[in-house]
Symmetry: none
Subunit: 193 residues, 2 copies
DNA sequence: ATAAAGTGTTCACTATAATAAACACTTTCG
DNA sequence: CGAAAGTGTTTATTATAGTGAACACTTTAT
């Protein structure tokens, strides 16, 4: 019983901490959140204080006050240390060398939802990286030059201002068959490096 | 009161459905899970039946019987396929009018994993779209011009070749404070339109 | 055939979550 | 200054979550 109790307390503390952090981040008072969510302010107070273990239903009701799902609520990192948000040109991590350059926005982070790349294909540059299929989806936008894209046997040459989007489980290759470098921005999910 | 009750029931149904699905997926009986987790089998039965709204603590205790977290428990990602792969400039769907232009790669599709946009901010253009936070992650790369980005109170002016990446549950705004149009490519997950 | 052991469900009872109202305190404003 | 409105907290009461024991039923085994 004593063990169970202490476990429960730690759990409550964690939920309370998450809630308090979320609420203050949005600049809401307990009473404002109470009014928005329809949950008594006393309940919110006790949850934050760790003296009350809310039901899933109540927590869900409280979260209607925020644009946040239960999954996100429990998934959020409540680190005080700030994550890097802005990246200078030189801070884009180079992932490759040679005729094809991949520079990644956001460094190589764990658990990233999107892999965002600034790619550059020199004339003749192509890739075996995407030769085989993998899970997820990917898309790209051509900034300059021309790129020949083949997806599931369908080939197309894309110029600046054009784009693509496909599911990565289809075999796909990229090649610059032009005479000028080709630059594009791509996004994949999940990261496959 | 009646309203509150019916809301609660729907919530309970959802939690119960998730739990039952998870449990059967792992081939456990209610009593086996009860023994593993230390939660009474009657409790599990009632949660699955939707007649009981568990506390976060109890649900967490139950989930110790599985190798998944609360966040994962509530997280459901459903993906759908699509046909169109290549997009001409004119095929990028315009989502907005006025000083800010959003052109979406891949049209407005359901269940898309990435929302890939070519955005253009005229001088003075800013957005209330991102005024409040939402779920997911987002990143962008500046192609031309200059854009002032504010995330969780941190403001930075980004120029061509620079980029950003942050979790969308932080409040964020964008504004073009320069004298030339700003073009950028952005990727969000999940789509928020 | 018929125990024995399994399954999920139901039902009083106890523990506790959720509420409204009062509390002590700080800030705002006339 | 002092009233009014804000903040988070505490408390008694009510509503309900969690429990153990019985239930009805199915499957396995001797």
């Amino acid at each position: 019983m004593a063990d169970k109790r202490s476990d429960t307390c730690r759990d409550q503390d964690e939920v309370g901490f998450r809630l308090k952090h979320l609420r203050t981040e949005y600049g809401l008072s307990q009473r404002q959140l109470s009014k928005k969510s329809g949950v008594a302010n006393a309940t919110i107070s006790q949850i934050e204080a760790g003296s009350l273990n809310p039901t899933v239903g109540t927590l869900r009701k409280i979260l209607t006050g925020f644009p946040i799902s239960l999954a996100t609520f429990f998934d959020r990192t409540i680190e005080t240390g700030q994550e890097k948000i802005f990246f200078a040109k030189s801070e884009l991590t180079e992932l490759s060398e040679g005729l094809v350059s991949y520079r990644q926005v956001g460094g190589v982070r764990q658990g990233q939802a999107i892999q965002f790349l600034w790619e550059r294909y020199e004339p003749g540059g192509n890739t075996g990286r995407h030769a085989f299929a993998h899970e997820g989806e990917e898309c790209g936008f051509i900034i300059s030059g021309e790129l020949t894209v083949t997806v599931a046997g369908r080939t197309q040459s894309l110029k600046a201002g054009e784009a693509y989007y496909f599911k990565s489980d289809q075999p796909h290759t990229f090649k610059n068959e032009g005479v000028t470098p080709c630059e594009l921005i791509t996004a994949c999910t999940p990261p496959s490096f």
